[in-house]
């Protein structure tokens, strides 16, 4: 049995210990915002926060998560309560296909949490592990800068924006359009 915090809620899971965290969050806890892209930690689509650090969860075995604090895109903000970066993403019309953007946002938010006013080089260093096949890099950069300039990132207490996640109620909500 592995215990950890997922988006501010304690969770436990009994699963093959080498299962990557990504698949546990996606298929066991049914939080689908984090994406599978490469399975080798090369593209960043699966990025979540582990104790505040951006990590690639497609290669992170669940056994390594015991006792850790995990935040996925669902814990960063919600459509009704956006993280400042998510607000900036919408205002800058960043996404195209959108598949990589959860990972981009998790890398960007981990950067700003540590470094509220990153230089261009800081941004590139933090974001270079996240591939966007649609080529939205310049808008990602502008969106991050807009938040860092306004200083909005430093400020708001991150915890207050995390919606409480209860795995018991996080059920199959998806019956796609009919």
């Amino acid at each position: 049995m592995i215990n950890f915090q997922l988006n501010n809620s304690p969770v436990e899971v009994d699963i093959d210990p080498d299962t990557p965290l990504l698949w546990v969050v996606r298929d066991h806890f049914k939080l689908k915002g984090s994406k599978f892209g490469c399975g080798m930690g090369l593209c960043g689509a699966c990025t979540m926060h582990l104790n505040g650090e951006a990590v690639r969860t497609c290669t992170l075995p669940i056994s390594a998560v015991q006792g850790a604090v995990i935040t996925s895109i669902e814990g960063l903000g919600t459509p009704d309560n956006l993280h400042p970066l998510q607000q900036a993403w919408v205002e800058h019309s960043v996404p195209q296909c959108g598949y990589c953007q959860s990972g981009q946002l998790m890398s960007a938010s981990a950067l700003l949490a540590k470094n509220p006013n990153p230089s261009d080089d800081d941004i590139v260093t933090a974001m270079n592990g996240n591939i966007c096949r649609c080529g939205t890099y310049s808008k990602i950069k502008s969106a991050i800068k807009s938040v860092s300039k306004s200083g909005a990132a430093a400020m708001r207490n991150k915890e207050s924006m995390v919606e409480t996640f209860d795995p018991a109620t996080a059920n199959l909500k998806r019956e796609a359009n009919s």
Binding site: T19, K30, F36, G37, G39, S93, Q96, I131, C134, S178
Partner: protein, 734 residues
């Protein structure tokens, strides 16, 4: 109007099929009646729009949203005519129905950059007729003259009173729906042309947008497939005993493309798949490697007895080549490429007795449904499609091979399954952009006018491989299944003999005024399957054409911009784009030390794009600092998205220009993941500036036209910076 190459490809597919006694029809046109499920009390004037009694406007999006912004674009058209804010419309991806066929393609599919062009008038008409119906109903219900009834911002306004649309849906439903209602004029537009963040940005910034891979159904098992290392080889035998003992594994089944492991979790399926023991039959492809393929192309290029097929012959063809003041010749090469969509292929299938539900991100709901019918052996009316957002398409999600595998696994194992391809599966089982080796020749006059333009091209076709992939899934019901299977297996070798795929000639001769042109294509195909890759033939042909134009200009001693303008007098759109980009980038003006400009201009999918790349060289490294682009794409629906698509095309094109190459050893694709098939990352992404030529003409393509000029613009700048004329892609300095 210029037809898209998709149209021509489909035309050739259908003519090819007709030649063999087949008419490609549609076994899966979808249900009768409207394309959506009825909502009690709603006004349902057509398959695109529903208006509920509580005032909600629902729009059923007939094209697939794969990043190109068509959700935003088409919703804007509805909003314009219906007088509703785009953000107030509930947009749903349309399921399978004949009303959702793309009018240019005659099938329900998204590709060829034509979704806006093809649906610009029909969708506005559907919305305008709906608006007229609401006004008629309001006039009747309120007993007011029609000219007193106005629509504004989602409301019916009568004098100083305002009502919701829903107040009139009951009456509207009982009245005839008007036809040919007048459309708003461009001068009236307040949604079309407006700068606005795209409508799907919020969902895609919060992890709530649903992609195919996000589908969940009850009792869902996960599947992983092992396929032949040499693409297309048949399975000789396999031993699943070790795999079946692995944790969580519930079944192992053989399908057409390989062997599938079904397990409780994806990770269990993926792990167990590695313990399958498989033997594959030998195929012809297994005898080919990149070196032997290149040699074969070269031999063919030099063997004049191989006439090939004609793509174009105008004026005197190539007869007068040697009579011009200057004759220039050069050989160019472009490799096979993979699509590498960020979302690996996947498909989720729920089987309920003799019916099934298919959850998939697809460029063609029709092809996907056809695959379910054929490979899952379901009746067409028992297949329910649930299309989702696509995590990138670029042509890859148009084949139905994901659905074909998933339904076969679900059917055989008797379970609901989700099939997810690994990145390695994706890289080694693509329908690749075909390689091509090309000899460019031109005769140029003393004044610098191109008199003769001759191209000899060697490489695979795409069309034949499409026949392989599509024939079963698009063939009509009355054809015997064994017959279509047999015919499709003849696929590419059969068709290669007598059909020159139109995409081979796309964009290699059309842009300049040359009176005499001859383009021939010699098909040499080792058997690696090929497919539509963002901008298709243009993706390599623009590199050949625009690099060669620079060579001609330089040989003539004329500035590359002036040389182009002098030779495109009959190409006003491209001229406007070229003049705009030259002015914006400052062509001919001083640049920072060591920086050089390269220019390329190209028309594709109805639009004209000119680009100037600013490049420097560091050792053997090519650094692209900035790309300035101008596009003439007719009327613009949302400028933000047009700029995004051109920029996206530049980034996609730069990945290909700097890194892109699929290689084979003994038929096995050597690239497997992003470490050996690298993607452009933020550190190497240039600054991009996109300018749009003002136009009131009918809208044209934007999803693909930004890509083709990029590689030659960079190569032309590299020549200025290094003196090296790089004629092979990817661009590598010696």
């Amino acid at each position: 109007m210029k037809k898209s190459s998709m149209t021509r490809r489909l035309f050739l597919l259908s003519t090819g099929a007709a030649a063999t006694g087949l008419i490609v029809g549609c076994s899966t046109a979808g249900p009768k009646g409207k394309g959506y499920s009825a909502i009690a009390g709603a006004f349902e004037p057509n398959s695109f729009i529903q208006i509920t009694p509580d005032h909600q406007v629902i729009f059923y999006l007939p094209s697939s949203e794969m990043g190109q912004g068509i959700l935003d674009g088409l919703t804007t058209l509805i909003a314009e005519e219906l007088r509703v804010q785009p953000t107030a419309i509930d947009v749903r991806q349309a399921s399978l129905h004949q009303d959702y066929k793309n009018p240019e393609m005659g099938m329900q599919a998204t590709g060829g950059s034509n979704a806006t062009r093809a649906q610009f008038l029909p969708l506005r008409q559907a919305a305008a007729d709906t608006a007229a119906a609401i006004r008629n109903a309001a006039a009747k219900q309120l007993d007011q003259p029609l000219d007193k009834i106005l629509l504004a911002d989602g409301n019916v306004v009568v004098g100083d009173k305002s009502y919701g649309f829903g107040d009139f849906v009951a009456v509207a439903a009982l009245m005839p729906v008007p036809e040919n209602s007048p459309l708003r004029s461009p001068a009236q537009f307040d949604q079309i042309g407006r700068e606005r963040p795209r409508l799907d940005a919020l969902d895609k910034s919060t992890g709530t947008a649903e992609f195919g891979i996000d589908a969940e159904v009850e009792n869902l098992y996960r599947a992983a497939v092992v396929r032949s290392p040499v693409l297309g080889a048949a399975l000789e035998s396999f031993d699943a005993s070790a795999a079946l003992k692995q944790s969580g594994v519930v079944d192992v089944v053989q399908i057409k493309s390989g062997v599938a492991v079904v397990a409780q979790s994806y990770w269990q399926a993926r792990k167990a798949a590695t313990s399958l023991e498989l033997k594959w039959e030998k195929t012809e492809l297994g005898s080919w490697s990149s070196e032997s393929i290149y040699k074969n192309f070269t031999d063919s290029l030099n063997d004049s007895s191989q006439k090939g097929l004609e793509c174009c012959n105008e004026g005197e063809g190539d007869k007068l080549l040697n009579q011009s003041e200057t004759m220039v010749a050069a050989d160019y090469y472009a490799p096979y490429l993979a699509h590498a969509t960020m979302e690996p292929l996947n498909c989720t299938v729920a089987v309920e007795g003799d019916s099934c539900k298919i959850y998939v991100g697809t460029q063609s709901v029709q092809v996907s449904a056809g695959a379910a019918v054929y490979y899952g052996d379901f009746d067409a009316d028992k297949v329910k499609m649930h299309p989702a957002f696509l995590g990138g398409g670029f042509g890859r999600r148009s084949l139905g091979d994901d659905v074909a595998e998933a339904v076969a696994i679900a059917k055989q194992s008797g379970r609901n399954i989700q099939l997810v391809w690994s990145r390695e599966d994706d890289m080694s089982n693509d329908f690749y952009r075909p390689a091509a080796l090309v000899r460019m020749q031109a005769g140029v006059s003393k004044q610098g006018l191109i008199e003769t333009w001759a191209v000899r091209r060697v490489g695979p076709n795409i069309m034949g491989h499409m026949v392989d992939a599509w024939l079963e899934v698009l063939a009509p019901d009355y054809l015997n299944k064994g017959f279509t299977d047999w015919l499709s297996k003849l696929g590419h070798p059969l068709f290669n003999r007598f059909v020159a795929d139109a995409s081979n000639g796309d964009g290699i001769y059309g842009d300049y005024d040359t009176p005499n042109k001859a383009v021939r294509h010699v098909t040499q195909d080792p058997g690696l399957r090929t497919g539509f890759w963002r901008s298709v033939g243009h993706s390599s042909n623009a590199f050949f054409k625009e690099s060669f134009i620079d060579e001609l200009a330089q040989r003539a001693g004329i500035d590359e911009l002036q040389f182009r303008l002098a030779n495109m007098k009959n190409n006003p759109r491209l001229t406007e784009a070229t003049e705009l980009v030259a002015a914006k980038a400052g062509w001919g003006k001083p640049l920072p030390e060591g920086h050089f400009h390269g220019l390329a201009t190209h028309s594709s999918f109805g639009s004209a794009v000119a680009q100037i790349a600013e490049v420097s060289i560091k050792g053997t490294q090519i650094i692209v600092h900035k790309v300035t682009a101008a596009i003439h794409c007719g009327m613009v629906v949302n400028p933000e998205i047009v700029r995004d698509q051109v920029e996206g095309g530049i980034m996609y094109g730069l990945t290909a220009a700097l890194y892109g190459e699929i290689t084979l050893v003994d038929g096995v694709v050597q690239q497997s993941n992003f470490h050996n098939y690298p993607m452009l990352r933020m550190a190497d992404a240039p600054e991009v500036e996109v300018h749009i030529v003002e136009s009131q003409e009918h809208p044209e393509g934007v999803g693909e036209p930004g890509l083709p000029p990029l590689a030659p613009a960079v190569a032309n700048a590299v020549f200025k910076a290094s003196g090296q004329r790089l004629r092979d892609l990817p661009l590598r300095l010696g």
